[in-house]
Symmetry: C2
Subunit: 537 residues, 2 copies
């Protein structure tokens, strides 16, 4: 009964009958040592916060406390290059004098690590509360030492959240903007040219940034008029009143072609709009309003990218986490057709209500595109004052971005999730499965997949000793060498996407419900699906 | 080491060191049959919803579906009297014709059961969606058959919440007011005289009522000018905006001496004010906004009554419950000095903000007292229009009633609490202890006590088969015969406040940490504290 092509099909059949509200217990658990994991850790170095892959050369770059490493991406225990990047004694002394901790804060923590060109990395570090950026030659692994002010690209305080993405040589960053961490910015930097969020009429309310990504309509490298950068963050609610300060998960987007305004919104985004990311289940009173991480899943076979977002509740959180997914078209519909919120003051209390008046043309916050060009607006610099003034005062769209299926695809109890990456893979039944790899606050990795009868946590793998939280995840989905790289305060771990060989019988192989695995009667072993294809052909 | 006077003292010493956030696991659990519990159940009768005690004659009155019983309060398995009270065939037919369920709804469910006089009970029932009230002679246990319209005193729908309290022969009730259950009322009825809440400018927003009680400044029977009736309920928030409809726990109060207004607020309360009952722990993100039950603890030794309130969260409730306590003086300060909320409309959206204008004299919503009398307002009928108009438009106080210690005294996980009663008892160490008896949704009773090092759930007792929820609790704190009576859909159970004799050794007796129990070396048994006092004297 347990032939080669029955793997996942049978798994679907034996799946339990009803959709459960909470999926918490992984079917299999691998403790440390039970499965082979490559590791990297450099004595004396901590805070392995940044991971960057060069998939053509199989190099994993790692940014840590005062150091950057280049590792063999196929075996990260093999260090290839390293460079140290310390804050100067003078900068450190200044940091300590300003009351910051000598033991923890007054170091240079790498916070931006991006490919600038084929042979150059762009890196920023907190540099003992004096953020600095620089270039690293990928071959020599040496700094150019053309130190640049890192303000607006990198936080001052290593404990502050931040995000960045490099698009066509321009750095898009979301971070705190001053020493105290009381100012916030979403910026774009390209040598000496800057674009930023408006701060006088604040567009951001105590945000913490979790992710940023670019979504292109056309292949990378070609500058389309519809390339957009999306920022994911939480901020303090302006539109709700609550018992106490309520946090709201947001998605914001800016256009890659934005040049700022001519007089109004000079050097500011003319295309900044934000909306609420909804992840709730009102019938159960579940409301997940703290965004922990986001991942944009692109696949040649899918008609549009899907956003996977990881949440936890702010309220009554006794160990709940959830994953909601969003179609990019839903996000775009909200930004391009949603109503704007407008601030009124009632007896000096602000109240944000739907704006019902006339909306200027071109629609405020939209990218320059063929339509605006037809109306002779060829650049954001040409946009009329009315549109720009409206953008300045109405950064928030009333409509929420609702999840696919209007509810979370996964809700778990008694585990705190921290990071997510998602791989789309084709299984034996010729269907595509989205496999989620989710890092936890206790140093493990959950692997979850949506099967026909509901969400299923296939396995949990212990990655770090001492239950250290997973701080960063990076997926390498290169054919033939797929890995998840996970980092924590103490090191980096390289995890294969599946441990098929650990399932020793056909039944175990099938019951594992792992779309990557298949039972091979030829080898009498549970093997990777790709491997099985090779051997049966 | 285990002498007679060491019971609770030792218990305090061995109490664990730190205050835990969640107290969930009872130290002892008594399954059905393990302890002796008197029971009452009449074949064919269900929904034992109302409990009323005559402590002078040791009678427990029980109101159920189409029947009222008088039981021996010292042993409720001894039925003394009963009377059946069915909806007429005509009324039932009418109920069924209106689309209500023949099997469940079109019966007469007793919902009000109160002492009217020494020899008369006042009872109301849903009467197949045609609420009716009547009098029952306590001796003959027969109806007077002077059927009165029960509208405004008793709900139409047996599944709707309700509460009532009898004060000096006047019935105070909180209930739904129409067939559909879309109108709500807090009323007072005294023969043909009625007083009620304003409905045009609604003072109540989809409330569900959980409790009502009178608090007198002077001994019962003497009509003071400061006797007040307090209502406890949840209603839909007007003051907050949230992702979805937010419920708010409220305390409202009216004055016993209220006569309504002369022209404005004629036959309406002139003394109705409501405020939010706060039960939250912002540092942990815990917010308990669904009030399940309340209990007013009075004790000759305490300077003021204390309100015990049982909560559960509306949001992300995966089995959380909490108890908060409130000092009556805090409640009174909110009503007598708090700022009023005022409704504004912003672009047709209502927004409630603090009223900063001039407040009329006498202060709106206050009882007639010596101060108002000095200003020649001897009755609410004398109150000036300005005060009454202000009362009509400002029923809600901005300030919240904050709990003692600013946080819950008990937070539990994985159990849903339904009902609470509290007994104050003196233990061996001469201190008074408030012992909470809390009914659960799985048919058990928790007994919890605040010890020096934190809250402690002493024991859990299974009361009902099939894990039926505890629907009602009544405490008899008569000296020498203290019991908790618990009712469910299927019957009534009588529970002694302690099972001292079940602790078979001195150590067990001490470790039970039960303030009612003490080890008696004379009897070589764990005995009730009162019993021990008798035998040592």
């Amino acid at each position: 009964m347990c032939g080669p092509i029955r793997g996942l099909l049978l798994a679907l059949v034996v799946e339990f009958g009803t959709v459960v509200a909470f999926v918490s217990i992984p079917r299999l658990t691998w403790e440390l040592g039970e499965v082979e994991l490559m590791q990297f850790h450099e004595p004396g170095i901590s805070n392995y916060s940044e991971l960057l892959l060069n998939k053509y050369q199989d190099i994993l770059y790692v940014g840590a406390q005062e150091a950057i490493f280049a590792l063999n991406a196929l075996n990260i225990s093999q260090k290839q290059l390293e460079v140290h990047w310390k804050a100067s004694d003078e900068t450190k002394a200044d940091c300590i004098e300003k009351g910051r901790s000598k033991e923890k804060e007054c170091f240079n923590y790498v916070r931006v690590l991006q490919h600038l060109t084929y042979d150059t990395l762009y890196v920023c570090g907190t540099n003992a509360f004096k953020p600095t950026c620089d270039y690293v030659n990928k071959k020599s692994f040496k700094f150019l030492w053309s130190e640049q002010d890192g303000r607006g690209k990198c936080p001052f305080n290593p404990s502050h959240t931040y995000t960045s993405v490099m698009v066509d040589g321009e750095l898009y960053a979301g971070t705190t903007y001053n020493f105290l961490g009381s100012e916030f910015i979403i910026s774009r930097t390209y040598f000496s040219s800057h674009l930023r969020t408006e701060s006088d009429i604040p567009w951001l309310h105590e945000p913490n940034f979790v992710h940023a990504d670019v979504i292109r309509k056309t292949p990378s490298g070609y500058k389309s008029d519809e390339n957009k950068v999306y920022f994911f963050f939480n901020e303090v609610s302006v539109e709700y009143d609550f018992f106490f300060q309520l946090k709201i998960p947001r998605i914001a987007r800016v256009c890659v072609d934005d040049q700022g305004g001519q007089k109004i919104l000079q050097n500011k985004w003319t295309s900044f709009l934000k909306a609420k990311l909804l992840c709730s289940q009102p019938d159960l009173g579940l409301i997940f309003n703290i965004l922990k991480d986001a991942f944009v899943l692109r696949h040649p076979r899918s008609k549009e990218p899907v956003i996977y977002a990881l949440f936890t509740p702010q309220l009554n959180n006794v160990g709940l986490s959830a994953v909601c997914t969003y179609a990019l078209s839903t996000v775009e519909a909200v930004f391009s057709r949603g109503k704007y919120l407008q601030k009124f003051c009632v007896d000096s209390y602000p109240k944000w209500v739907i704006y019902h008046g006339e909306v200027p043309t071109p629609r405020p916050g939209m990218c320059i595109n063929s339509e605006t060009r037809a109306a002779n607006y060829n650049s954001s610099l040409d946009l009329p004052d009315k549109t720009l003034l409206f953008v300045r005062d109405h950064p928030l769209i009333e409509e929420s971005v609702t999840p696919i299926g209007n509810r979370p695809i996964l809700v778990t109890k008694d585990v705190n999730y921290t990071q997510i990456v998602v791989d789309r893979t084709r299984a034996l039944d010729k269907n595509f499965y989205d496999v989620m790899f989710i890092g936890t606050a206790r140093g493990t990795l959950h692997k979850a997949v949506q099967l026909e009868k509901g969400m299923h946590i296939i396995e949990e793998t212990q990655l770090f000793r001492n239950s250290e939280p997973v701080q960063n995840l990076l997926l390498s989905s290169k054919k033939g060498s797929k890995f998840v790289y996970a980092s924590s305060n103490s090191g980096v771990v390289q995890v294969p996407l599946a441990f098929c060989r650990k399932h020793s019988s056909c039944e175990e192989c099938v019951l594992a419900r792992d779309p990557y695995c298949i039972w091979s009667p030829f080898k009498a072993a549970c093997v990777a699906f790709s491997e099985a294809l090779n051997c049966t052909r």
